[in-house]
């Protein structure tokens, strides 16, 4: 332990604690702007300066040392922080009222806290024509004019995700964040995971907003507009209305969506149960019958699919061909459901509410996404967009009564709900695979498969005994952690050895969908844990906890699909993958 003094208070902290974190222990919140607890401090902004033995240092990146005497506030420090903010504002557009981050912008709130009332320095703000926003992905919008060069997006894109779509280009006053060659993001390695948008402190990186399109659908009397919500949305949407992270608000969300005017409320968790039937059966085909290569890798995360098609195209045969749960619900809504209620599928519009920006791209990523004869899912919204829509509608979310989802795509099991966090898809799959292989249900106490739960470790491994045969399993989250797993597989395959795993689950975002790029901002590991616990609680309280026990799923197979991996299933619920070059074309280079 280290002894030091902060603002006259003596404290002890463990070695390696930063001044920023040490100060929190005595209720001192040093302001930060470029710092984010998920990321290594870049110390680019300087707003967190404090005086250490009289010398100004940045609190975010300075470790506490024995005997330090720190002052976190005096008129000189406050003036320095104000000057930093004034300089930031000198190249930041004065467009708060029309900005997507209005009222939820870290720069704006600091400007408010420090009482900046005028722009002291000459403004150097390029016009929108000189520096246009890049919305080429239709998932993520990069508006370089609003960038304060804090480096969070670059850090998360390069270090956490290992995608390297974004970098700092040029130097000095020309420095900007952009893809190599200043290419549009859609033509680069960007996997649309949206982690940059979840970490950006300002409006420089944000979700592509489709809410107007959805309002128009809801208004059109020709359409029968239905909606579905992803597992992870039910434990995060409440945050936008002041509820604690992890609060399970499924019933309130159903009620809110019904009041927004959706004709039927479905649940992606139902789709997750169907995914397990298909993917679980696919695994059994590969594992016990040798039909297809091992290891099999999960495919429900579209950012991960994009990553694999770009960075590991040689692994394509290892991918499960199964579509993601919301794509399955989309396909079934325009076939099975359309038949049931006797409405022309062309009149049905499907909206997905997802914790994810990449889902916006997934809905058109291949011809299989049009398996119903129409685009299976018409629009995918993020949690942040649906929160705004509910607010626009003046719905008092917190006090809404709990309602239920609609048949036939609304009932779900605990296995469907755990899809929302890292390890959950594997857990759900193993519950059903165990039943399908052994003919016996898993013991209730074994349903939570502890070795693959949790978010501390980026790669989680375990083995499971299945009828005397060992199944070797790996779970990775955050695409930056995937390389290690896949390289082990690649090496073994190249040497002609038995691969180290049979079954691999990957989710592109840290913690899985609960930490998705479209979730309410301000995510830290504590928030991820809270959301995960919320979903685990939802699972525990479910009547059925295994996908194959879902009565509506059983009915779906009996009445419509036949059996998992049937021709009809293959047509509606499966897809294929193709290698994608990292850079689609050469940029026109100027220098």
């Amino acid at each position: 332990m280290i002894k030091l003094r902060i603002d006259g208070v003596d404290i002890e902290v463990p070695e390696g604690t930063t001044i920023l974190d040490a100060a929190k222990k005595i209720q001192v919140e040093i302001p930060t702007l470029c710092y984010h607890p998920d990321l290594h401090p870049r110390a680019s902004c300087g707003i967190c300066v404090v005086k250490v033995n009289g010398k100004m240092l940045r609190a975010c990146c300075t470790p506490a040392e024995e005997g330090m005497d720190i002052i976190t506030r005096d008129p000189e420090i406050i003036e320095t922080r104000r000057t930093i903010l004034k300089l930031e504002l000198s190249h930041h557009p004065n467009e708060c009222l029309t900005c997507i981050r209005n009222e939820c912008c870290e720069l704006q709130s600091l400007a408010s806290t420090f009482g900046l009332r005028e722009r002291t320095f000459k403004n150097i703000i390029p016009s929108k024509e000189e520096m246009p926003a890049d919305d080429s992905t239709k998932c993520i919008v990069l508006d370089p004019r609003k960038c304060i060069l804090c480096g969070r997006c670059v850090e998360v894109c390069q270090t956490i995700q290992n995608v390297w779509a974004l970098a700092f280009l040029d130097r000095s006053i020309d420095t900007h964040v952009a893809p190599a060659g200043d290419l549009p993001l859609a033509d680069t390695p960007c996997i649309k995971c949206g982690q940059c948008t979840a970490h950006c402190p300002t409006g420089a990186l944000s979700e592509y907003d489709n809410s107007e399109e959805v309002w128009n659908m809801l208004q059109n009397p020709e359409y029968h507009t239905v909606v579905q919500i992803a597992p992870a949305v039910r434990v995060s949407l409440g945050e936008a209305f002041g509820l604690e992270p992890g609060t399970v608000t499924t019933g309130k969300i159903y009620a809110a969506l019904r009041r927004l005017g959706f004709k039927a409320i479905f649940d992606t968790n139902f789709g997750a149960d169907v995914t397990i039937m298909e993917e679980g059966s696919e695994f059994i085909e590969r594992f016990t019958k040798g039909n297809g290569v091992l290891p099999m890798i999960t495919s429900c995360c579209p950012a991960w699919v994009d990553y694999m098609e770009k960075f590991y195209p040689d692994m394509i045969p290892h991918f499960s061909s199964c579509k993601s749960p919301h794509a399955i619900v989309g396909a079934l809504a325009k076939t099975y459901y359309a038949d049931k209620i006797g409405i022309d599928a062309g009149k049905i519009k499907v909206v997905s509410v997802m914790p994810c920006t990449a889902k916006k791209f997934e809905v058109i990523r291949s011809k299989e996404m049009f398996s119903s004869g129409y685009q299976d899912v018409d629009v995918s919204l993020t949690t942040r967009e649906i929160a705004r829509m509910i607010k626009q509608a003046g719905i008092d979310f917190v006090n809404l009564p709990e309602e239920c989802a609609d048949n036939p795509l609304g009932e779900y099991t605990g296995a469907g709900t755990v899809f929302g966090f890292s390890g959950g898809v594997m857990e759900a799959a193993l519950r059903t695979v165990h039943y399908l292989v052994t003919g016996k249900e898993m013991d209730e106490k074994d349903l939570e498969i502890k070795p693959i739960l949790g978010i501390e470790k980026g790669i989680k491994e375990m083995t499971m005994n299945l009828n005397g045969k060992e199944v070797r399993i790996a779970v990775a989250h955050g695409t930056g952690n995937v390389g290690e797993v896949l390289n082990r597989v690649r090496e073994a395959l190249e040497k002609g050895e038995e691969p180290p795993y049979h079954f691999i689950e990957v989710m592109a975002c840290n913690g899985g969908c609960i930490g998705g790029g479209g979730q309410p901002r301000g995510v830290t590991n504590e928030v991820r844990m809270a959301r995960m616990k919320g979903l685990m609680c939802d699972d525990k309280h479910s009547e059925f906890r295994c996908s194959h026990q879902n009565p509506d799923v059983q009915k779906l197979y009996k009445d419509f699909l036949g059996a998992p991996l049937s021709n009809k299933s293959h047509h509606l619920l499966h897809t294929h993958y193709e290698p994608i070059p990292l850079y689609k074309h050469h940029p026109a280079l100027k220098k």
Partner: protein, 162 residues
């Protein structure tokens, strides 16, 4: 002389061999690439990225950070306009503007046909001739803005004849 994409890839591949096992070789490798081609072509960046295992974004960030690196083939006719103190006072800004307008390019750029490259340089050491322009080694002294079209035409003709 300009190489085809295939030639660029092959030449880059060959020269990277000695840098592959060295850590921190990127900048030296890029210097060598520019030495061969006169600039760092996008194809060469892609080969470098693959062979050295360095993401394109990092390579491009390095290339745009250091002023020395060029991303485009320099023009066949290199127009250097001096904007040192003496030339500046004697009217170099008008000459620069003249070339920019006449060639429709800015400082450091090359015309679309790859013919002219414009660069602003500091003192050339012949201040008595200010403002000075040097085109492919030929010096033009005491220039005025109206000389610009004449100089451009002279070199267009020369290149057409050659």
């Amino acid at each position: 002389m300009s190489e085809t994409e295939q030639e660029i890839k092959e030449k880059t591949n060959a020269l990277l061999t000695k840098w592959k096992s060295k850590r921190g070789a990127l900048i030296m490798a890029l210097h060598e690439i520019q030495g061969v081609f006169g600039y760092v072509p996008w194809e060469a960046m892609e080969v470098t990225s693959r062979e050295l295992g360095i993401p394109m974004a990092r390579i491009y960030a390095v290339l745009t950070f250091y002023n020395y690196f060029k991303l485009n083939a320099p023009g066949k006719v290199i127009v250097s306009v001096c904007d040192g103190t003496a030339c500046h006072i004697k009217g170099a800004p008008d000459i620069i503007e003249g070339f920019q307008r006449c060639l429709n390019i800015k400082d450091g750029e090359t015309t679309d046909d790859g013919m002219f490259h414009l660069q602003i340089v500091r003192c050339l050491g012949c201040c008595g001739l200010a403002p000075v322009v040097v085109i492919n080694g030929k010096t033009y002294g005491k220039t005025v803005a109206t000389d610009v079209p004449k100089m451009v035409n002279e070199w267009r003709q020369k290149m057409a004849e050659a």
